[in-house]
């Protein structure tokens, strides 16, 4: 086969220097294209995520200001703000917050590692799936709260028990969503990996992990919220520090304002951490073209 002959025969396929008009919008007609897709949620706006919480806050202010809400039932927002500045000035809030955040971060870290390792084990081998999936489903059916008495018996009431409880709450959604993401990777990519002779390790790095990433992030959002929830539980039982302890103490003294402050702190932490995960998610999944954009 000679190249020259083929090329000559195929010359009709070459891009020619065709004559083209100026194109574009004819003079006099404005560009009337709609700025957004007709279907779908529309363009992304900055700080839009804050609109919902802000509305909630406004309703709270309104209800307290008009006297509709008895301060003995729910403190006024401004009382909570005042309490917050008092607690900040005394350094107590930072101390409790720091301890709580440390516990949540540790539990989250171990939970993520455990969840991802189990998801890979179950997703990449049939034996792994047979061994791992059942126990995780069983754990999923048992709420962390129900395990608490046993964990206290085993580990006492120290940090290990607290971090472990959070870990056990975190790894389940990470496992479930990452595993689901992994299983949804299309066989065509596995075939491709085979034809380019990817090693097992390269296959995991180039195909499995990136393919499971959308599922992982979905699981991470559940996990982060779940970590705060578990934290409340462990800090209100046999604890001497942390936001949950601060609230539990306030309950015994009937300090509604501190209880509400604790709730507000949990709310803000939840919102911030979810926002951080979403930001990370958008960065890491920028290759995706989805409706939400």
């Amino acid at each position: 086969m000679t190249a020259a002959v083929l090329v000559r025969k195929l010359a009709y396929g070459e891009p020619g220097n065709s004559q083209r008009g100026t194109g574009g919008t004819p003079p006099g007609t404005a560009d009337r294209r709609p700025l957004t897709r007709r279907l779908g949620p529309g363009p992304r706006r900055r700080f839009a995520a804050l609109a919902g919480p802000a509305l909630l806050l406004a309703a709270w202010c309104l209800a307290s200001g008009t006297g509709l809400l008895d301060p003995r039932i729910l403190s006024e927002p401004w009382t909570v703000v005042a309490t917050a500045s008092e607690q900040l000035a005394s350094g107590k809030l930072q101390e409790h917050l720091g301890i709580s955040a440390h516990r949540a971060a540790l539990g989250l870290f171990f939970g993520i590692v455990l969840g991802v390792v189990l998801a890979l084990t179950a997703g990449l081998s049939r034996i792994g799936e047979a061994l791992v999936d059942g126990p995780v489903q069983i754990k999923r059916a048992i709420p962390s709260l129900a395990l608490l008495p046993l964990l206290v018996l085993w580990f006492g009431i120290d940090e290990t028990m607290k971090v472990l409880t959070i870990t056990l709450g975190v790894f389940v959604p990470i496992y479930l969503q990452t595993h689901a993401g992994l299983r949804s990777i299309e066989t065509k990519y596995v075939e491709l990996a085979q034809t380019v002779r990817l090693s097992r390790l390269a296959f995991i790095k180039k195909v499995v992990l990136p393919g499971a990433l959308p599922g992982f992030f979905l699981g991470l959002r559940f996990a982060v919220t779940g970590a705060w929830v578990s934290l409340v539980v462990v800090e209100q039982i046999n604890s001497t520090s942390g936001i949950g302890y601060m609230m539990e103490l306030a309950r015994t003294y009937g300090q509604t304002n501190i209880i509400v402050l604790g709730l507000a702190v949990y709310g803000i932490l939840g919102l911030l951490s979810d926002g951080a995960v979403q930001l990370l998610q958008r960065k890491a999944l920028s290759w995706q073209r989805t409706m939400a954009g």
């Binding site: 086969m1 000679t2 190249a3 002959v5 083929l6 090329v7 025969k9 195929l10 010359a11 009709y12 396929g13 070459e14 891009p15 065509k188 990519y189 075939e191 491709l192 990996a193 085979q194 034809t195 380019v196 002779r197 990817l198 090693s199 390269a202 180039k206 195909v207 990136p210 393919g211 990433l213 999944l285 920028s286 290759w287 995706q288 073209r289």
Partner: protein, 254 residues
């Protein structure tokens, strides 16, 4: 040939075939798809595999690509060590950049440089960092071609690689593929249902029907490749005949 790295030592005799298929039988369940296919491809030879839809072209190609583990059958398939596959869908990893897709699985330290060169060869220099979804269908398929050729295959398998492209893009891809094949000299098995595509590109055309090779024809430039060559009409008619299309009747009802 399937042993070691596929390169023969200078002392060894030059091989006369790169691909050798003997008595290949494949079927999904009890229904047979391939009923004893024999096929040889010489080094550097361009073979087009024609056949009606569902006749088993992809099944044969997948057997050569080593992708038919779950298919029952018998027969022998000998292929070289370095085989590249181009699928009908470009099959780019959506989460990897264009360059990352081209160099997927390459371990040499100069993989990036080679990938860049391969992209330049298919006319996509400067698009290395784009995501696959930012490219048009034709561009995606060119990336897939770059991904195959950067591996210096001895055998290039392509399953209707231009089937999803519009007619004009398809013609451009034909000349690109001809250029690339001339430059890299792999043996090629191109699966297509397009008679004109087969005639334009192949050295030899094999028609598959009822699970067997029904017809083989050489294509020789200057003899029967171009529409104004003397042998063109005969070749065209015999291929259409083997595909079960009576051209005169097709024209009459058109």
């Amino acid at each position: 040939m399937a042993t070691n790295d596929g390169r023969l030592t200078p002392a060894a005799k030059a091989p006369t075939t790169t691909v050798s298929v003997r008595g290949l039988i494949r079927g999904y369940g009890p229904k047979g798809v391939l009923n004893g296919v024999d096929l040889d491809i010489a080094p550097g030879e361009f073979v087009a595999l024609l056949g009606p839809s569902g006749c088993g072209k992809s099944t044969l190609l997948r057997a050569l690509a080593g992708l038919d583990h779950e298919v029952s059958g018998s027969g022998t398939v000998t292929v070289p060590a370095k085989v590249s596959v181009v699928f009908q869908d470009s099959r780019l990893l959506p989460w990897d950049s264009v360059l990352g897709n081209v160099t997927l699985g390459l371990q040499d330290h100069d993989a990036g440089e080679r990938g860049r060169r391969a992209l330049a060869e298919v006319g996509l220099a400067g698009r290395e960092r784009a995501w696959p979804h930012q490219l048009s269908g034709g561009e995606q398929q060119r990336v897939a071609l770059a991904r195959s050729l950067v591996r210096d295959p001895e055998l290039l398998l392509a399953d209707e690689p231009f089937g999803a492209l519009d007619a004009l893009t398809r013609l451009k891809m034909h000349s690109l593929l001809a250029h690339l094949v001339a430059a890299h000299q792999p043996a090629v098995l191109l699966v297509t249902h397009d008679v004109d595509e087969a005639i334009a590109l192949a050295d030899r055309i094999v028609v598959l029907d009822h699970g067997k090779v029904a017809l083989e024809r050489e294509v020789i430039s200057g003899t029967n490749r171009a529409p104004d060559d003397a042998g063109f009409a005969t070749l065209h008619a015999s291929l259409l005949g083997a595909l079960g299309v009576d051209r005169h009747r097709a024209l009459a009802t058109a």
